[in-house]
């Protein structure tokens, strides 16, 4: 319809909100559908109900000497494009929650509550329901209340079936139990915990490298029967269980000096953030086997090794920096929890 026609139609019939591309009824239908599901994430500290202006959470922490609120906001990057193209919408919400959980976990914090932002050009209630079911699943697994959210319908901003997500987590840690970068010392050991794939970083590079040759449904030999979509949509792991288990036996002062969540910037970019200026990392890049998807990306795109290391976690999702004297005991505890820790390097001078 050209502009003259549009003006004429408006003058004849008038322009309603729905004609402008905003369907309040669809938004209400989505809230109606998700309400009972979201409520499952509530615990006795949630003082709110869905639909109020703000989410309410008990702010008393009598068991702590000095409660510190730890918060983080994130998105899932262009992993969302894979989900949209593969028409699988129930995993990206899990990616986002787990990513946020890990981001505050590296300060020592456990999750309290999460809020989501879900924006699309035209609200598809079923897609929204699937996305939010992913938030609910991961929130439940991480004992985190899904306390609020915003569903935005933005005609003209997101093309076709595109949508974007953002999420914010708030957690708490007693100040005495925070990991502190000043404890990291020369000689400390880097213990890596495996990722199961790209988690939520490097998707723009992965898509550009893979998609000229491998459609999402293809099953390259090296993936052992998995499709490209399966490999790329593996859910970002939460390390809350493993680290909580460790903290029952070890403490954040003598035993574990720091944690690093491997996101954009890779192993070195992220782990350097917890080092003082006079320290750096020595990583033994051959100490572990990379998940096959990384080799496939590198070969398909002829991606330089330096860019691989900067864009991807390369199979290591979380790094513990521990005094070398405690490394054996910590590895044993992690193995006992079903983790597969790997020594990937050391903290060195310089």
């Amino acid at each position: 319809m050209n502009i003259a026609d549009e003006v004429r139609e408006q003058q004849q019939y008038g322009l309603t909100y729905a004609q402008a591309g905003v369907n309040i009824d669809a938004g209400e239908e989505l809230v109606h559908r998700i309400k009972p599901v979201v409520r499952k994430t509530f615990n006795d500290r949630v003082l709110t109900d869905i639909g109020g202006f703000g989410g309410l959470f008990d702010g008393r922490f009598p068991e702590m000497k000095f409660p510190v609120l730890v918060s983080s906001t994130d998105g899932v990057g262009t992993k969302i494009k894979i989900a949209i193209e593969a028409n699988r919408h129930d995993t990206v919400g899990q990616d986002l929650v787990n990513h946020c959980v890990n981001d505050i976990l590296v300060c020592g914090a456990r999750p309290l509550f999460f809020l989501d932002y879900f924006a699309s050009g035209k609200l598809d209630v079923s897609v929204g329901e699937a996305v939010i079911s992913g938030f609910v699943k991961a929130c439940t697994e991480n004992n985190c209340a899904l306390i609020g959210g915003e569903t935005a319908e933005m005609p003209g901003m997101y093309a076709g079936h595109d949508y974007d997500l953002a999420g914010t987590i708030v957690g708490v840690v007693d100040r005495d139990r925070m990991f502190r970068r000043e404890n990291v010392s020369e000689g400390d050991m880097l213990i890596g915990l495996p990722s199961n794939g790209l988690h939520t970083n490097g998707y723009s590079l992965a898509r550009k490298a893979l998609f000229p040759r491998y459609p999402l449904s293809s099953t390259p030999h090296s993936l052992g029967g998995e499709t490209i979509a399966d490999a790329l949509l593996k859910v970002h792991r939460s390390y809350l269980g493993a680290i909580s288990h460790l903290l029952e036996h070890f403490n954040a002062k003598e035993d574990i000096h720091a944690l690093s969540h491997i996101t954009g910037g890779g192993i070195v970019g992220n782990t350097s953030r917890v080092l003082s200026e006079r320290l750096s990392l020595s990583v033994n890049w051959t100490a572990w086997k990379r998940p096959p998807i990384f080799n496939l990306i590198q070969e398909a795109g002829m991606v330089p090794e330096e860019d691989m290391r900067r864009a991807f976690n390369l199979g290591i999702g979380l790094i513990l920096i521990v005094p070398s004297s405690r490394a054996n005991a910590i590895e044993s505890a992690l193995l006992g929890f079903g983790e597969a820790p790997v020594r990937i390097g050391n903290v060195v001078r310089g």
Copy 2:
């Protein structure tokens, strides 16, 4: 470049992260530029520095009997399209912060900290800097620390210079001082505080109604010299100052029964959220003069009055529900603070 050419180029030169459309250096440049500015929003309760994995905030509230954390996530809807088209990027961040401030204010909470999400197809450092300067300005005005954020570069998701924003606020209120919807009674007075325009709702309808005839730079007679862009980009007002002033003299139990922030859904849609099922609103729609932009939208798009009321705040940004016996005193206090309160209706049975 077609796919065969792309594959050939990759095989010849290899694909770098920058070629995939992600510029980590631009992200780092943005962080470098905003760091000193963002730090200005910090107070002695902020225990963090920018660049860590999580934002840290003092979680002790010794002055409160039962601290309740109140949180909210939001976006600015398609107001962002106006900002992008007008190439003015320093106001939308203010819109978002103030919107979030009001959302928790209606529970009685004052802001503690804010986190932002800024996503674009290709990161423009100057635009990012302007957007974040808006967050900083409004955070400073509302005594709220800008404690974290995520800058996402998502090639293929956002077209051209498009970007999207989301924000999350966390505040606190003592449970005894929360507004409680159960106090709202038949006969209560609705006192409206003026908005200065659309705030952050109804932009899809406004654009569709106005833009066939009025470009952003046009100055329709009824706007008294303002351009359409000026009128549409007016910053969403924060009511924190006015309500904080009131709460020095009045309390959330006897004097003020509830507040309502007028966002998507309009006066009735939002204010009904604080009413019990046996109550409803009687609004005198002619009790106040609508800002001229609303009449312009209605005339240009021949928008039915019902849709106007559902999509827009129509000039009322916040509503106080007060016992009629307290209405005079509250209006006087608001007038004394420089506000322009208007009685817009009552709570009625049914």
